[in-house]
Symmetry: C2
Amino acid sequence: MTCYGLKEQPPMGARSTQESLKKPGLRLTRQRRILLELIDRSGHHLDAEHLYRLAKERDPGINRVTVYRTLKLLKQGQLVDELDLMHYDGDQHYYETRLKQEHAHMVCLRCGKVEEFFGDPLRKLRREIETHFGFQILVARTEVGGYCAHCQVLRVREMQEAAAQAPPPAPPARRRR
Amino acid sequence: MTCYGLKEQPPMGARSTQESLKKPGLRLTRQRRILLELIDRSGHHLDAEHLYRLAKERDPGINRVTVYRTLKLLKQGQLVDELDLMHYDGDQHYYETRLKQEHAHMVCLRCGKVEEFFGDPLRKLRREIETHFGFQILVARTEVGGYCAHCQVLRVREMQEAAAQAPPPAPPARRRR
DNA sequence: GTTAGTGCAAACCTTTTGCAGCTCT
DNA sequence: AGAGCTGCAAAAGGTTTGCACTAAC
């Protein structure tokens, strides 16, 4: 039976990313504490710049470079996953804790909304790749781009308006590049 | 029944990417012809720089910018897919025609080999996302990183050697950044 | 007291943009 | 002829690096 929705138990047995950083030779600095908490708490998908701005509210002296270095560390330690979200808004990377169960990301190319898909098909895909190829999966990422249910309706309307010689509405503001 | 391996029929009914470029207002220039042929023919996953170098062999005057512009065009026209291959070798993007059936990419994080997975689970995942969310999928991308069967064995050996105080072998040469 | 981590400045890689001139159709 | 495309130079966005100083253990 297929299951949608977030399961409660963390997949790695870790209670927080912050705890997992306690490894030999690693130091839990003020800056790292702030960043880890922001990542763990955040419901959104944060990119380095966004995370930097949030961190700056708590510690105005924090440097952008520290954010990048911390993210790199977390990525190497498999504590966060790196996403692109189909490069909808530029080429930056987004980050999320691994405390949640594996899921796919659906990015609406019209409104930018990101939805998450949890469910059996993902686990099945992973299992099949592992068994068929003997491939040991460390990270997996499924991202799809398209139109969310809401925007599909709006697009039909837009097409009709366009056909009626009306100029198409401007797309939503994006980060310029 | 699950099916592995490349099916023959192209998913979009197109015979080549080159043909598909014949749209109103678009011109099939010498440079584009070269690039399209390279992309269609290439078995590997090419990034912009690699494609540029290959194109330069045929037309030494071609400019890197033209490569980027052509790739952007093809991406917009849904004629190629953009991949990251888990950023194994840097942050550039890789491209492949859509003439092949949908597949996932498995990137070995030790040797860099990229394998492709075709099969039912992918189609099932797509179908489920579409039906459950009413999401209209335009592009889908599944990438997994881990260790290929071959490297798993080698890693065990490396671990044993490391335990015996021998310094671990240097990782394979990557693009510096 | 050591060693890891930080901030700063500067570099780096990849990709995009502005513009004058060229070339497909 | 004219819109579309190219090459060149220069810029931009995102990320990394070198180094002296600071702080966690």
